[in-house]
């Protein structure tokens, strides 16, 4: 089984979006665990994709930054933080919480990380952090179900899911679909030789799928974020059509916390043995009083 360190192992300059599969998936907690891991190779950048108006301000993720870490926050949130910062850049636009600032911690502490309004502003902030502030590794907190930013930010991604008995079947099928999409091959000339082929520029929605020829042999999507089909519909499509992508996005790993669900139940719901991408319950501690090999294995 991989460790969080092995999932996050990447050369300097890598960007990883931490994306929740479903609500309350545990992204922020995972970021808290992941940050010390990536910081081992140098200053880290912690960013957030812009939040919708309702979430903004009330639930901005609080992250513990170390000196040298770079992030985006507002003047007011910086002042309220236990950390202290130097301002590296004033970002374009203004959030409901005030002007957005790219900051570097000169004293460590906890701060609310706020997302820029646009992906281009986020990209600009990350580039400045990498080029001008010496950030070697970037983590990006992304709201649930919004993977489009992965493509825009030249990032790979880590999916985070929480599974309980009520969400077991749905989450397992969503994760299976996500893996299937991440494993789609790159489009090549062969995609155009075996029968009717469609090169799709826009999103693959149920309506678009209905409009495709029934004799379709192969289909090329821009990338996995272009697919908006329900897992069952995607599975049916993949059984009858060869689907490829023009750009692959690297699924770095899937972090799953199981609550009242055994590993066997999850495996059954997934329909196969979880592969090397899966990291279960990173918050779970082995204990001397219990199973020294770790309770995760015992379940």
């Amino acid at each position: 089984m991989p460790t969080l360190a092995s999932l996050l192992d990447a050369p300097a300059g890598a960007r990883t979006v931490v994306s929740g599969v479903g609500k309350d998936a545990g992204k922020t907690s995972l970021l808290g665990l992941a940050l010390p891991v990536v910081r081992a190779s140098g200053p880290a950048g912690v960013f957030s994709v812009g939040l919708d108006g309702e979430r903004r301000g009330r639930h901005a993720a609080r992250i513990d930054l170390a000196p040298g870490d770079v992030s985006v926050t507002t003047q007011a949130l910086a002042r309220a933080s236990t950390a202290r910062f130097e301002i590296l850049e004033a970002l374009p636009g203004r959030s409901a919480m005030g002007r957005l600032l790219l900051v570097r911690a000169i004293r460590g502490g906890s701060v609310a990380v706020v997302g820029p309004d646009t992906l281009s502003a986020l990209e600009g902030a990350i580039r400045t952090a990498e080029d001008a502030a010496g950030v070697r590794r970037v983590l990006i907190d992304s709201p649930a179900g919004r993977l489009t930013q992965v493509a825009a930010l030249s990032a790979d991604f880590l999916a985070v899911a929480r599974v309980d008995p009520g969400t077991l079947a749905a989450t397992a099928s969503r994760l299976a679909a996500l893996e299937a999409l991440a494993d789609l091959p790159l489009a090549g000339p062969a995609d155009r030789s075996g029968g009717p082929h469609v090169d799709l520029d826009g999103p693959l929605t149920p309506a678009v799928l209905d409009a495709l020829p029934s004799t379709l042999a192969s289909l090329t999507l821009a990338d996995l974020t272009a697919c908006f089909l329900a897992p069952a519909a995607l599975a049916r499509l993949l059984r009858r059509v060869e689907v490829s992508v023009r750009r692959r996005l690297d699924l770095r790993g899937i972090v799953v916390s199981l609550r009242d669900v055994t590993r066997e139940s999850f495996t059954a719901a997934l329909g196969r043995t979880p592969g090397q991408r899966y990291l279960f319950d990173p918050w779970l501690l082995p204990s001397s009083a219990g199973d020294p090999a770790g309770t995760a294995v015992a379940r």
Binding site: E86, W283, S287, S288, A289, G290, D291, R299
Partner: protein
């Protein structure tokens, strides 16, 4: 200055819409995108300049461009790159002197740093021309107190002894808290064998905890339900840790108070100097915009226009078509043309360049009135209040639902409503109605405009039979050379040949110069159709029909 009334505001909006449509028509809108100042200040200045008839503003813009051109000539590539890097890093100064925040001080510091770095790169002449001066070294030094990097800002300890003192206490408090946390984690590890290092919380199997989680004494862990078999645990702070944290909170309040004091002092210093800082920003914006105009002039071989009473274009070019010709290795013919207040009617062959002539005229005028140099060998003109183009696709959204002819009439009304000096351009006006009615309408419009002072009107048309209204000039495109007529007619494009080949062939045989007098006898439509690969039999049939139609009555076949 008086506030605009709704009526004047509406007229101004209509004029702006007309100019925007004209800019799209001739490709100037896309060309203007190439005017790219490096700084946000320069971009603001570009957006604020727009289309203007203000002679003083135009002359000033052109003067600045000339200074910038000579500056670029005297500057090597490395110095130019440094100049542009400093310009790109300039920031906008605060709008308001009240309640400045750290972000405002950051913006001022960066502006001052990069602005001051511009001056040694410019030389005295350019500094004087653009109004760049420098007297803020003390303020810049103040904003760098505490060995701060030049491009970032923070409230350094060195700004105030009280701030340094409270931060030193905070560092001690943080060290104490860290030590207490370590001790707590060590106690937890000893009691439960659980290593919580680097974790805010952890999940453990319920049976991994002893029955008495308080370890028979002070509780070490806060325990929350997780699921049926696990609990979530956090280190539980003891009384000393809680007291230390509360003490730190108090010190953090003191730090914020000390920071507020420093911020107030720095803000007062910046606010006092804000008028000067705004002058720096205005001068840098002017420099940046002038350099952008100069780069464009250099790249596109533009010349300074002259303001006079007439409009005279020598060697005028339309950049988009010039670039296209270069791309397909076709010849480009620059335009020589004088415009006066007599409406000008331009006729000529299909694909003979009438529309390009019109677009070139509009482009040159828009470029000049946006403060730019012009793609020509020379351009003299006078500032106009309006530029209106009546052409296919030129109508606004409000005209949706009208036919093509209906949309043209809406545009015509706008053109006739032009108040003051204006350039009115009609590209194949009334093309979608009958030839007789188009000619009648065109005759009436030219007659009306011939009587208007200050209006320069240009018509491109295939319509004939306008008569010769007094005060109207008739010009024609030279069109296909006679030899070309034979070649193109007898040697039509082979089936499957690419369109670019046909275009290049027509280009080779077409004379795009404007004859200063005369009306085209033919539009050479059938020859051009054959050259573009239209079915030969169909073209021949059309030629016979045309010949029959032109044959005198009583001499029909058979």
């Amino acid at each position: 200055m008086t506030a605009p009334t709704p009526a004047t505001a509406g007229a101004a909006d209509a004029r702006a819409a007309g100019v925007a449509a004209a800019a799209r028509y001739c490709g100037f809108a896309a060309f203007l995108d190439r005017l790219a100042p490096d700084s946000p200040l320069g971009r603001d200045a570009k957006a604020a300049f727009g289309f203007t008839a203000d002679r003083t503003a135009l002359e000033a813009a052109w003067d600045d461009t000339e200074v910038a051109l000579s500056l670029l000539t005297d500057t090597d590539a490395s110095a130019e790159a440094r100049l542009r890097r400093h310009l790109a890093r300039l920031t906008r100064p605060p709008r308001d002197a009240d309640a400045l925040e750290e972000a405002d001080l950051f913006a001022v510091k960066r502006l001052l740093h990069h602005y001051s770095a511009l001056l040694p790169l410019l030389g005295d002449r350019a500094c004087a021309a653009f109004g760049l001066a420098w007297s803020s070294a003390d303020l810049l030094a103040l904003l760098g107190v505490g060995r701060q990097p030049p491009e970032t800002f923070f409230l350094a300890d060195d700004y105030a002894p009280a701030l340094a003192s409270v931060r030193a206490e905070l560092r001690e408090a943080d060290a104490l808290l860290a030590r207490l946390d370590e001790e707590r984690l060590a106690s937890i590890a000893a009691a439960y064998g659980l290593d919580l290092t680097g974790r805010e919380f952890a999940v453990v199997a319920t049976d991994a905890l002893p029955a008495d989680p308080t370890a028979g004494g002070v509780p070490l862990l806060a325990i929350e339900p997780y699921d049926a078999a696990h609990v979530l645990i956090r280190p539980l702070p003891d009384a000393r840790r809680l007291a230390s944290a509360a003490h730190r909170e108090g010190m953090a309040d003191d730090e914020r108070a000390a920071e507020a004091g420093v911020l107030a002092d720095l803000s007062a210093r910046v606010a006092a100097e804000l008028p000067t800082i705004r002058r720096y920003a205005a001068a840098a914006a002017r420099l940046d915009l002038a350099l952008a105009r100069a780069r464009l002039a250099r790249e596109c071989d533009l010349v300074r226009p002259a303001l006079g009473r007439r409009t005279r274009l020598v060697g005028g070019r339309l950049p988009s078509i010039e670039a296209l010709c270069a791309q397909i290795d076709a010849r480009y013919t620059p335009l020589d043309l004088d415009l006066d207040e007599r409406p000008m009617v331009l006729s000529g062959a299909n694909m003979g360049g009438k529309t390009v002539v019109l677009q070139t005229i509009v482009f040159a005028q828009l470029a000049a009135q946006h403060g730019l140099f012009v793609p020509a060998e020379a351009y003299e003109t006078s500032p106009l209040a309006e530029v209106v183009v009546v052409a296919e696709g030129g109508a606004d959204d409000a005209s949706r639902g009208l036919s093509g002819f209906g949309r043209e009439i809406v545009q015509l009304r706008a053109a006739l409503a032009a108040d003051g000096p204006a350039l009115l351009v009609f590209d194949e006006f009334a093309r979608s109605t009958s030839a007789d009615e188009a000619a009648a309408l065109l005759g009436a419009v030219t007659a009306r405009l011939a009587a208007r002072e200050g209006v320069r009107a240009v018509f491109a048309t295939h319509a004939r039979g306008l008569g010769a209204p007094p005060g109207v000039r008739f010009l024609r495109m030279r069109g296909l050379r006679d030899a070309a007529l034979r070649d193109l007619g007898t040697d039509p494009l082979s089936p499957g040949a690419p369109l670019s080949e046909a275009i290049a062939r027509i280009n080779r045989h077409m004379d795009y110069r404007v004859e200063q007098e005369g009306c085209a006898r033919s539009s050479d439509a059938l020859t051009i159709a054959a050259a573009l690969g239209l079915d030969t039999d169909l073209v021949r049939d059309a030629e016979e029909r045309l010949a029959r139609a032109h044959r005198p009555p009583g001499r029909g076949a058979g």
